[in-house]
Amino acid sequence: MAKAAESPPEVIPDAETARRLLRMMALIRRFEERTEEQYTRARIGGYCHLAIGEEASTVGAIDALEEGDCLFASYRDHGTALAVGSPPAAVMAELFGKETGVAHGRGGSMHLLDVPRRFFGGWGIVGAHLPIATGSALALDYRDQPNAVLCQFGDGAVETGSFHEALNLAGVWDMPIVYQIINNQYGMGTSVEQSSAEPELWKRAAAYRMHGERVDGNDVLAVREAADRLLRIAREERRPSLLETVTYRFRGHSVADAGKVYRSPEEIDSWRQRDPITRFGVFLVEHGIISAAEIEQMWAEVSTEVKEAIDEALGAAFPDVDTLYEHVYGDPKWREQFARMGAGAPFGERDEERPWQT
């Protein structure tokens, strides 16, 4: 049922696919590196989780999405947004809290999204977006849309009650969804062995009579092949499945964590040897699909792209403070509904002259 985590990709990709995948991984890598730097320059606030090292798991799966499919992810979502095609400038602008950001500066690093591209968010409560993603699959099913949902989350989310309830609902209701565990082997400083009674996470699928499998999450082709196959099953046979992609984060949990207390230098090093981007590059050169020069060229391009994104984001404006109360409610009638709330408490008094109210 599961593949050995080390199996080499059998499929040799066409040059175009190869370029697309490699370039996106490179773009994410460079974007994350510069993001880290921007954070240290205090242009980014709050929590900031980098996905350096996990590019293959993100890109391989998202590349298998088709028009109309839906995507949900965790707060480690910068690469996710880039992978769906959100403009790097709009992603960086969100990290900077600018009005031109993908969430107009309301969401920040953990809550990126791109509704036109069907990316329904980076979410901050571990495990909680699984039921929501399951509900979006229910909506596709309700409307007989031939699409599927890809829901990505970390290994730590597997131990939450939400994981259990979501997968059981998807199983008993035959929902078109693929749950992808991006297993980077730690939830903050806690290893999978410490937190999971069954550390082979893909095996959890059996509890829901669901197909489960594990692939090498640092092998972009293996991830893509598996995601594509499982998404097809979801679209065509309306069956859910669980895909575990085993990978590693080179950085700490967030920029505030060095990531060294709970991981040995040897362990970190052994994974650096399996850097998904280097690996894929070497593979492509070996098979003569892309030249080393082309790859260098690619890195130069993405570096410029990220630099331009930063410049554009820096130039963008912050949201207008007067819009603070916009979008709390979406119903056009809400102001009317709240009109009689009157004085006596902050809410509903914004039109009055009370200086301590924004």
């Binding site: 500066g105 968010g121 509900g135 309700y142 309830e165 709330m341 006596g344």
Partner: protein, 330 residues
Amino acid sequence: MADVTYREALRRALDEELERDPDVFLMGEEIGRFEGSYKVTAGLWKKYGAKRVRETPISEEGFVGAGIGAAMLGLRPVVEIMTINFILVAMDQIVNHAAKIHYMFGGTVKVPMVIRAPGGAGAQLTAQHSQSLEAWFAGVPGLKVVAPATPADAYGMLKTAIRDEDPVLFYENLVMYNVTGELPADPEALVPFGEAKVVREGTDLTIVAHSYTVQRALRVADSLSRDGVEVEVVDLRSLRPLDAETVAESVRKTNRALVAEEGWSTYGVGAELAARIHFLCFDDLDYPVERVGGAEVPMPYSKPLELAALPLESKIEAAARSILTQCGVL
């Protein structure tokens, strides 16, 4: 039009909205074959089938979350939580998600979802099944909370809730399901949010209440009028948005106020109302606002203890009399 029960009013509203809009669907435990633990969805599963009336496992966190996801894609789920006591396992989905998504998404996604949940006590259901938690939700930006007290309002407000673009917690009350009343002749006569209603006019004291307590207040008013005291009863109907103006107008007239609720009043609905009445009617009040709520204990099973814990008419009336006596009206 003949009187119908509160339960039937809800059932009709659901039926008519399911009929009207194919995007409306119901989700919850036992709402299909079993016709609802309290029979509110009677007949709907037979009429609309399993797709429109979806039975769920015991997974509140899961199916409330599923409702949110479905709403984000444009459907209009009406989720039934069998009783509000079980909503505690789904709090994160409602407070951290349903309430915040529209804002977090910078306005690019809406969550047009209704969560129906009955609360209340009085049938010896004991501590884990006798709570009134609506005040918590009423304090959450992004949520709307309504608590109709009559069949007509239940009917009109449930339709408003289903057609609203925002997540709405629709608070019911177990004891109220069998209460009867008239329904409006016009099925499109929806009841708006944010408008409290003076359900009994009076001059001597204003009793502010919501949900089932409104009916207790009306009985107290009747009893007091026999002593020549006229109590005005204001039915809040909606807790967020809250109509403070109608309450204030009433108190400016009566100069006295009592807030009654079934839940615990410390940090409860009564606290917010008392604070606002004092703020808005500072110069009008003859006497501080009194509050009557359920005794602040986990609800005991034994009947005499439960009766002692409930905010019955006798307690509300005693509080009203004490205010009126202090003010020399009685």
